[in-house]
Symmetry: C2
Subunit: 142 residues, 2 copies
Amino acid sequence: MKVIAIVGYHNSGKTTLVERLCKELKKRGLRVGYIKHDPKGHGITDKEGSDTDRVFKVADRVALASPEKTTLWDRRGDDPIEIAREFFQGFDVVILEGYKGLREVPKVAVGEVEAENVVLKVEGTDEVGHIIELLERMEDNL
Amino acid sequence: MKVIAIVGYHNSGKTTLVERLCKELKKRGLRVGYIKHDPKGHGITDKEGSDTDRVFKVADRVALASPEKTTLWDRRGDDPIEIAREFFQGFDVVILEGYKGLREVPKVAVGEVEAENVVLKVEGTDEVGHIIELLERMEDNL
């Protein structure tokens, strides 16, 4: 599995870049995952008082099984390496968004941003090709 | 892993029973999971237009990593056995809510309800003890 992170300031186009990157990688037949960092816990991913919300307070792991998707809630920290190990086994590429300070994962910086271990700087969302080349050259790092 | 399902009509107290059951099982030091069936796909588990919602449309699996919890979205059907195999490895007990027609999982019926493979009928949410006894007698079925 190859794990890279896309970093950049708010509104720099990180998610648009990730969308384009996913599409290109999917065209190549790869299994692609994405882990978005939510360091302040602002993400609301369930309705307060729903059955899954209630049971998540007392169980270790909860899933909502819908025909088109499964949503899973797990009680753990936000370490993307642990998450990738537990939940993305068998994936070809896992793209992180955020995690500027995480040294062990190579970074693609969108615009000017300070981050650990930046291996590629891109200026905008059109530079997907350069990230694909980077991934092709890269060895599995997880 | 022991897998059982709690079935019953709407408002029969299934989720309250599951909450009490989880608390009792956690007191015994067990790792407890819960899979809620959402056959009509009514569950909304992300904000439309959020980064994770956008990328889920183009990736195979997406996670939001918050300090207190990780939310994972996966593209698969609602078969609870497949979900348990993929996402609940190492769990002691996985409680399903719903899945009345799923023959291979033993059921606890709350009140009068028609379901496949009912092994215990309970009348209300106070009968957690009987379900605990059932689980203690049961062999791993997954």
